[in-house]
Symmetry: C2
Subunit: 347 residues, 2 copies
């Protein structure tokens, strides 16, 4: 099996190194042969080649069995809204070119982190949500630009029936293997694209009568996620809403530093933390590598079908937490100073 | 002073009645003369006239000094994505026709409700956020429709420089009277309309050098609001992001049932709870009327300049809470059964 490691920007470098180390250990322990290559994306790719997603990187991705991804982004571009070439373009182009239409974001709280969240433990205990975020459509990929002499800017949000069906189907299938509850999130009281979204999910619901479906408006979901996270099992939603809601939901898991994601679709799967490049802590050894380690676990499970190996990784994370080791983002007032470790040490 | 009461749908009826009662008491106590009229909007207006915002209602609004508003919406339309006439169209048309471009949503936690939230008290204590949600632009009002034989649906998000400037200016001015901290929320790493938004806020920042500005991506804000709500003072954002983030932020105040909003702009101001029509509890006497009462307080302050009267209302709410009275949404395990009151009793 051939794995392409694409660390990208900021803490992407540090955390992906730990994710790769874990894959190496799994290979050794279970007698697999994993080969690796590396490639550039984002700000580091712009610096090296002028292109946030060089053709070479895309080629390598297509020719790999899976991609272990870091993060992209740089404050330089964030502060310059007029920049034409931006790191995020590399990420978006990768998603489109690889046909990664389904982004799975499991939000699961390790028992040991119950108290690390800003939400009350009794509200959190037992929450276990699987998000399906659509990843290659919506306002991310519609036409965008300026008009009226540059005085007006616009972005088009767009969904086709086919796009909703294929992500919807994945979510229904997943709900079947879990608690058979699906929440579909949209803003159908205002948006036409949401109305089409709801129509298609309603049609699919007729094929999955064993799954109980609830339709929520995105504003309500944003509220209920915090008020009563246990109400959710599987959630399916559009690209932009999924972006916002899963970042919010990271608080259910104690920290964004614990959350992994899998982007799957037509070709090679890409596995990445949901956190960003975090330039404010880059190179300081403060980054929590667990999200990358858990991304490696998803990679083993989904792209390689290695369920036992994947569980071994999740267990290892659990053991580290049970022993009391913490990175700074998940430490609390009761964590002894000498149990707070850096990125490498905890990896 | 002439006040138009527009209860709208569902619990809008019950809570607005209490809001009006409070305005009456204020008039009596402080010797003001308030006259009232009533008008239809939303589902009840569709039932009566076929139009979610009858011309008569709009006329009456324009000729009033302020509007006390309830809520609109009905599950009938939510479950039928193909319905052509919808209650929400009345609300959106009202916002547009009255030029209500600034929606102020103060998120303030009454001390007595510290434990009513799903968020930990120590995280919440001292939070006090004022949201400025842009209300007449964005994807709410851009072109929308179907194409490719109805197989694709689209919505256009749009902002002009002028639209960003006028809401931005209101937010900067408000920050000046508070802690001089402004967070501007966008998705400038992906959206062109967000990049224009950021450009304009950056320009305004040069005029308000005494205000400290932070730029956040909406996904990050959704996370930080829960992780560390005290980090925010004034927040300014686009229509859709504001919709999602303020509903989420309602959890900071313990319950959506406590949150009022003011929509202001070119003409008559409109004051309404941020909660919806809640048909699941309509007519059961369970609705928390505080959001409508606090909307009346905002009305007195902003449209009538009656600061003392406005504070008297807020104090009254505080007294009711201090005495231990609660509606069901803000009661907790420690609230004695006989202190849990219905909509009218607590009003
Ligand atoms: C970096 C950014 C473009 C990206 C997104 O919005 O999709 C990120 O927030 C994510 O969630 O992967
Ligand atoms: C009812 C709906 C159209 C409305 C909105 O999205 O603006 C509501 O959620 C609000 O926040 O006032």
């Amino acid at each position: 099996k051939h794995i392409l490691v694409v660390p990208g920007d900021g803490i992407g470098q540090e955390v992906t190194a730990v994710g790769k180390k874990v894959l190496d250990r799994i290979a050794a322990k279970y007698n697999h042969e994993f080969t690796y290559d590396e490639a550039l994306i984002g700000h580091v790719a712009i610096e090296a080649t002028g292109n946030p997603l060089p053709d070479e990187t895309l080629e390598k991705m297509k020719n790999s069995d899976a991609v272990l991804f870091g993060a992209v982004g740089h404050p330089k571009y964030d502060n310059d809204p007029t920049a034409k070439v931006r790191p995020e373009q590399g990420l978006l182009k990768m998603r489109k070119e690889l046909g990664l239409y389904a982004n799975l974001r499991p939000i699961k709280l390790f028992d040991e982190l119950l108290s690390a969240s800003s939400i009350k433990p009794e509200i959190l205990k037992g929450s276990d949500i699987l998000f399906f975020r659509e990843l290659t459509g919506d306002i991310y990929f519609g036409e965008k630009g300026r008009k009226n002499n540059g005085d007006t800017a616009y972005d088009v949000a767009e969904y086709s029936r086919y796009e909703v069906q294929r992500i919807g189907r994945k979510a229904f299938e997943a709900a079947r293997t879990r608690n058979k509850k699906l929440v579909s999130v949209d803003k159908a009281n205002v948006l036409e694209s949401s109305r089409l979204w709801r129509e298609e999910i309603q049609k699919l619901a007729l094929e999955y009568l064993d799954v109980e479906v609830e339709y929520q408006f995105v504003d309500a979901t944003a509220m209920i996620l915090i008020k009563d996270p246990k109400r959710f099992d599987v959630v399916v939603t559009a690209n932009l809403f999924g972006d916002i809601l899963t970042d919010e939901a990271s608080q259910i898991a104690g920290s964004m530093g614990m959350l992994a994601s899998a982007s799957i679709g037509d070709g090679t799967g890409v596995y990445e933390p949901i956190h960003g490049s975090a330039h404010d802590i880059t190179g300081m050894g403060l980054a929590n590598p667990m999200a990358s380690v858990l991304s490696a676990a998803l990679l083993l499970d989904i792209s390689f079908g290695l369920k036992e190996e994947s569980n071994a990784v999740i267990n290892a994370v659990d053991q580290v937490l049970k022993k009391g080791f913490r990175t700074k983002d998940i430490a609390d007032a009761n964590t002894p100073k000498d149990m707070i470790l850096g990125t490498d040490a905890i990896g």
